[in-house]
């Protein structure tokens, strides 16, 4: 079966929206209708809230929504990673129970992968899942969990076999967060925000049917989740725009954005706010200082060429060409940009760089850049891990000899978790 043309798809979605879009519905009601129609996630399979369209046609559908300011399905956060993972590895029961409520936004999800003892080395997870009386009993601790404080479910990576080698001893579960054995505490960051949580498990319970995939397949399935995370990283930021128009659906959607985007509000500062540099330099006259000017020039060159490199990667993707090295460099480039931008903002501030909050420049925004930039080279894979990935997968350099994959996991040296 060949894919329908873009014109056909546009005409269909337009007609459907004309007949169904109603801003006076509640957000959940509308999204329910949308999910059942298949137009909310047209690239999903027809059996599960989609229309089986190729990914390449999705932007056309989205444009039709934007054209009339129709609200789409819930997309932000871990929910889409959960959905993608369940579509690929989940049972029919999982899909039945979770997918629709993911799309309507009724359920929020979180990802329970990182641990205090395993950050870069995710497969070193030591949270345990033990089968007792036909139930999985979970003990351990996760960290860096976005949205755990208001999530209903978590994607959990836990160790089910300590005698297997590292990557083979992990299994993948859906965990009900709202139960007595799960405690969520905010994790305060050096910039004062608390966008993440620590999650503690003390004999938390998972019914056996909420295991995803086979026993011991946890790492493979987690890789699916992580792959979607890397792919979707750009989509997140472009989403938070809801029309200011009147109507119940819009009001609900605006309220949702406020809640959902709360953890991300310092992210622009984390990236260095290159957009403020020239404006500030011109205002203060620092643009005419030879040293500052040269530093600014270096930053602008880096930022522009990083932007153009990302555009090259996207263009190659659109042309259907194999991904070149330019596709793997964005994360590393953004770390350089953020660091250089923080340095320039410091010199533009002078003594004021010592102040924060309302005493700081631009009502504290500049201070927030300075104390947020260090996160850029850590979150989502440290620069060091990025360099390993680039050198091994793109440059095909040999892997470093390992001492953690040739023996049962219980014999591998690891951090003592307090």
């Amino acid at each position: 079966m060949s894919a329908p043309s873009e014109e056909t798809v546009r005409a269909e979605v337009r007609a459907w929206l004309e007949a169904n879009w109603d801003p006076s519905l509640s957000l959940v009601e509308w999204r329910g209708i949308l999910a059942d129609s298949g137009w909310g996630v047209p690239h999903w399979p027809e059996d599960w809230y989609g229309r089986g369209l190729p990914q390449a046609l999705v932007p056309a559908v989205e444009e039709e929504f934007q054209r009339i300011d129709a609200v789409g399905v819930a997309k932000v956060g871990i929910r889409m990673l959960a959905a993608a993972t369940l579509l690929e590895h989940g049972s029919d029961m999982h899909k039945e129970k979770f997918l629709r409520r993911i799309l309507t936004g009724e359920d929020t999800w979180c990802q329970l992968f990182s641990e205090p003892g395993s950050g870069s080395d995710l497969a070193g997870a030591a949270t345990r899942a033990d089968l007792k009386d036909d139930k999985w009993i979970i003990n351990g601790q996760k960290v860096w969990t976005t949205s755990a404080h208001h999530a209903q479910y978590g994607l959990l990576l836990a160790r089910t076999d300590w005698d297997a080698v590292k990557h083979q001893g992990l299994s993948y579960f859906v965990l009900d967060i709202e139960q007595p054995g799960v405690e969520v505490h905010p994790l305060r960051q050096m910039n004062g925000h608390a966008s993440f949580n620590q999650v503690f498990f003390t004999d938390a319970v998972i019914e056996p049917e909420f295991q995803v995939g086979e026993l011991g397949e946890g790492w493979k399935i987690a890789t699916t989740t992580l792959m979607h995370e890397r792919r979707g990283a750009d989509a997140l930021r472009s989403w938070a725009q809801v029309s200011q128009a009147e109507g119940r659906c819009y009001e609900d959607a605006r309220a949702e954005v406020v809640t959902v985007m709360e953890p991300y509000k310092w992210y622009p500062q984390r990236a260095g706010r290159v957009d403020l540099v020239l404006e500030r330099a011109r205002e203060s006259g620092a643009i005419d200082d030879a040293v500052t000017r040269d530093e600014i020039a270096k930053l602008m060159i880096m930022a522009k060429s990083a932007e153009w490199t990302a555009r090259r990667a996207r263009a190659a993707q659109l042309q259907g060409r194999p991904q070149g090295p330019e596709g793997s460099l964005g994360k590393l480039a953004s770390s350089h940009v953020a660091r250089a931008a923080a340095r320039v903002h410091t010199s533009l501030s002078g003594a004021d760089a010592m102040l924060t909050g309302s005493d700081g420049e631009r009502d504290g925004v500049i201070a927030e850049i300075l104390v947020s930039a260090p996160a850029t080279s850590i979150a989502g894979g440290t620069d060091e891990i990025q360099r390993n990935i680039i050198s091994e997968r793109v440059l095909r350099l040999p892997k470093e000899p390992r001492t953690d994959t040739d023996r049962p996991f219980r014999d591998v040296p690891r951090n003592t978790v307090s």
Binding site: D294, I296, S305, R312, E326, L329, H336, E392, L397, P398
Partner: protein, 384 residues
């Protein structure tokens, strides 16, 4: 070509070029030619002109060329930079031809360009002098009218392939003028009377430099005498964008050689490429080269489209390439260790080209300043 992707035709063209250059410019040939005074192989030059039409790539069809854009010329130069081709090509195509296209009258273009297109004429642009400045203000050579004849007095230096060029495009000024005023382009035959050419000892022997003294040499005006400033500035920008492309070609070749060596060399019982200290350097090199490539490609497309922001974009690309090429060369030597510092290892050939290209047409700091002075054009421009 968009600013972010090459067309299938450009990719196919690149492939033909790469095969050709691998055949005619292996390191053994580079080493042979760099020891010679002329510094190029006339037989290869003929093939470049006749088989591949390289000398006529961006010359419009009405002047005997193929009518492609500066975008295609940039692809040619990137591949030549990769192969470290010893050839008066940059001088002829990127400098002299663009100057003639920018400055010449219709009739002058009809007279001068067909000979370049066929490969018969090797040309260069003589604009720098012993003061080493890259801008119009550095021009001290004077043009005087002597009856119906123009004559040049003064000394040009750092002239690329100036020792062998058949045709010299010379930037001079009217007496008593300074800065951007009173500039004029002239053409002089390389062998003309009153022209004394001396080869300079270039640190990069793959790129020949000459000092040219003009003692009343007879010269033909190219364009309107006294009004050359705009055409000269445009030529410099186009040349900077083109040089950036040549440079990223060389940088990529070096980067690949560093990866190859890290895979090959064994120390402490392991390939050195398995050590994170090596991997991380190589990953950083990849990043630096890819960023410089993005800037060079963007600038080439901007030059091809005659984008109003070219003064900023070309400077950005040249500044980026200047840092990236040299840094890549330094790191490649470092990764090779002791062998990388020997004459027998090929790395120093590219290192020297990186060094000469870093400086030629202005170094990183020079172009960063040019970029900042023109940044408003970037802000005004609509990027597509």
């Amino acid at each position: 070509m968009s600013r972010f992707a090459f067309s299938d035709e450009q990719d196919a063209f690149r492939e033909v070029l790469r095969r050709f250059l691998e055949e005619v410019s292996p390191p053994s040939e580079v080493r042979r030619l760099m020891e010679e005074e002329a510094g190029y192989d006339p037989a290869v030059w003929r093939r470049m002109a006749e088989e591949l039409g390289l000398t006529s790539v961006h010359i419009p069809e009405e002047y005997g060329g193929q009518g492609f854009s500066l975008g295609e010329l940039a692809v040619v130069l990137e591949e030549m930079g990769r192969a470290l081709l010893c050839s008066p090509f940059f001088a002829t195509a990127a400098l002299a031809t663009t100057a003639i296209l920018n400055a010449g009258t219709e009739q002058e273009k009809r007279e001068l360009l067909p000979g370049i297109a066929t490969g018969e004429t090797i040309a260069t642009l003589a604009f720098t002098e012993e003061n080493g400045r890259w801008d119009a203000a550095g021009v001290e050579t004077v043009a005087r009218q002597d009856g119906n004849v123009w004559r040049l007095e003064g000394t040009k230096s750092f002239v690329l392939d100036g020792g062998i060029a058949d045709l010299l495009v010379v930037l001079a000024r009217l007496e008593g003028t300074d800065g951007e005023n009173g500039l004029g382009f002239f053409t002089v035959a390389g062998e003309a009377e009153g022209v004394a050419r001396t080869g300079l000892q270039a640190m990069d022997p793959t790129r020949k430099l000459a000092r040219i003294a003009f003692a009343g040499a007879e010269a033909q005006p190219l364009g309107e005498v006294g009004q050359a400033a705009a055409a000269f500035a445009r030529t410099l920008r186009q040349a900077a964008a083109l040089l950036a492309n040549e440079m990223v070609g060389g940088a990529e070749k070096l980067r690949e050689s560093a990866v190859d060596y890290a895979n090959l060399r064994v120390q402490f019982g392991r390939q050195i490429g398995s050590f994170q200290s090596m991997k991380h350097r190589l990953a950083d090199m990849l990043l630096e080269v890819e960023l410089a490539k993005s800037a060079a490609y963007y600038a080439a497309a901007a030059a091809a489209e005659d984008d109003a922001a070219l003064p900023a974009v070309a400077a950005l690309a040249k500044a980026s390439a200047s840092e990236a090429y040299l840094q890549t060369a330094i790191t490649t030597i470092q990764i090779h260790g002791g062998i990388g510092f020997t004459w027998d290892n090929d790395t120093h050939l590219w290192f020297k080209r990186a060094k000469s290209s870093e400086v030629f047409l202005g170094d990183g700091a020079h172009h960063r300043e040019a970029m900042m002075a023109n940044w408003h054009l970037m802000e005004a421009g609509d990027e597509t």
